[in-house]
Amino acid sequence: MADIFSSMQFLWRGLFVTVEVSLLVICLSLVAGLLLGVVVTYGPLPARLAIRLFSDVIRGIPILVLIFFVYYGLPLTGLNLNNFVSAVMALALFSTAQIIEIARGALQSIHHGQTEAAKAIGLTFAQRLLYVIFPQALRRFLPPWINSVTDVVKGSALVSLVGVVDLMLAIQQVIGRTYVPLPLYLLGALIYFSINYTLSSLSRILEARYAYIRE
């Protein structure tokens, strides 16, 4: 009984790490992705090309390779990051690349006439983005973004492979002690599913909330 209790506590801490990794990655990649997404849509050509190159390269590499590269590869250049930071950074890079593309798609889907009408009443670039483009792009951004958030939560399980004791690694370690794999894997799957199902439900609610805007 005490065994189960300590196992549960162990899993609970793992879940906390999973949530911590996910939240960090989601916040970092949202800020970086939106910023770079705006630049890639409206910025000068050299910046656009550089960001495109970044996002194409990152999206063409498996997340696991990215994590190993940051954790095992970067130390060769003298940059030593611990496993937690490496894992978060690799996941954030990956997610940033996704969000750049989502943001670019959402921004470009807004008709050029909206920008012209906003210019015509004298709004500056920042005002046009803030009051005209972003509110319209938001509803096109949200569903694919929440999709990418669920990818982050699922992808966070990969941090276990560099020894970060997240939910996944906690489950494996408990299995290693107790030799009861199936119920524990099922429990893990259920937890991941609950998180992501909640997120995708939220996405549907938000979609409905913004459905009234039509062009």
Partner: protein, 269 residues
């Protein structure tokens, strides 16, 4: 067609004093294609200048250059004596900064063929946005101004409707209210009835007619020849990037002095 009352009060073609819009030697190309090829034109306060001509002749580009949605290549456009697209310092022409351009665009209202209302904002909010963020009015003040203008275009009851809930004609009237609420020095109308069902054209034109009678300075690109004849103080015929004929509407439409003008009018009427 008789000359309407609005013509009697409008300015003659060569009014003394500084024009609101002064265009000299204006040139604009898109790649190899020369769209504007040396336009000279003055628009005085209270004048309604209608620009007619075949598609691709440069009419719309001319309007877009005036509020700098397009940057012109050569020549000069001045609004109340101020060059709109460039600054001149010791002979070097420099494109104006973004905030300069924004400031300038607020002085030149533009109404678009396809309305381009902001779909996420109500009719009143569409009108209020520029008033609040550019003119700096508070919310209540901006709302009052917006309601006054919506009332004048006959849409007082639709202030809280979203564009998607309005007909094309109603949307375009909101578009006009959004532009004139900023009290621009000149109002630019770019084929504002071309995208409307025929039965909705009249309600939009009557709003423009009213503005003309109240002395709003306007430049109107249109294919509605009867309307052009009725409201214009002056008609300008542009073909292949040049002003080919210009004059009082009765002269332009009746004398048809120019061969290209004659064939154009024969096609559209």
């Amino acid at each position: 067609m008789p000359i309407s009352a609005s013509n009697a009060t409008s300015a003659p073609a060569h009014e003394p004093g500084q024009p609101v819009v002064r265009i000299r030697g204006l040139k604009k190309s898109f790649g190899q294609i020369v769209v504007l090829d040396g336009i000279n034109l003055d628009v005085h306060r209270g004048e309604v200048v209608t620009i007619i001509g075949p598609s691709g002749g440069g009419k719309t580009t001319l309007l877009r250059c005036i509020n700098v949605l397009e940057i012109y290549d050569e020549g000069s456009i001045q609004i109340d004596g101020v060059e709109v697209g460039f600054t001149d310092s010791s002979g070097a022409r420099r494109k104006r900064t973004e905030s300069d351009l924004a400031h300038h665009r607020a002085e030149t209202g533009m109404v678009f063929q396809l309305f381009y209302l902001f779909p996420h904002l109500t009719a009143a909010e569409n009108v209020m946005l520029g008033l609040r963020k550019v003119r700096g009015f508070g919310k209540a003040e901006a709302r009052a101004i917006a309601e006054r203008w919506l009332d004048r275009v006959g849409l007082a009851a639709k202030a809280d409707s979203l564009p998607s809930q309005l007909s094309g004609g109603q949307q375009q009237r909101v578009g006009i209210a959004r532009a004139v609420a900023m009290e621009p020095k000149v109002l630019l109308l770019d084929e504002i009835t071309s995208a409307l069902d025929p039965e909705l054209v009249g309600e939009v034109l009557s709003v423009v007619r009213k503005l003309a009678e109240e002395g709003m300075t306007m430049m109107v690109v249109t294919h509605e020849m009867a309307f052009a004849r009725e409201v214009s103080s002056r008609v300008v015929f542009i073909d292949a990037g040049r002003i080919v004929a210009e004059g009082r509407p009765e002269d332009v439409f009746q004398k048809q002095s120019n061969e290209r003008l004659r064939s154009f009018l024969a096609r559209v009427s």
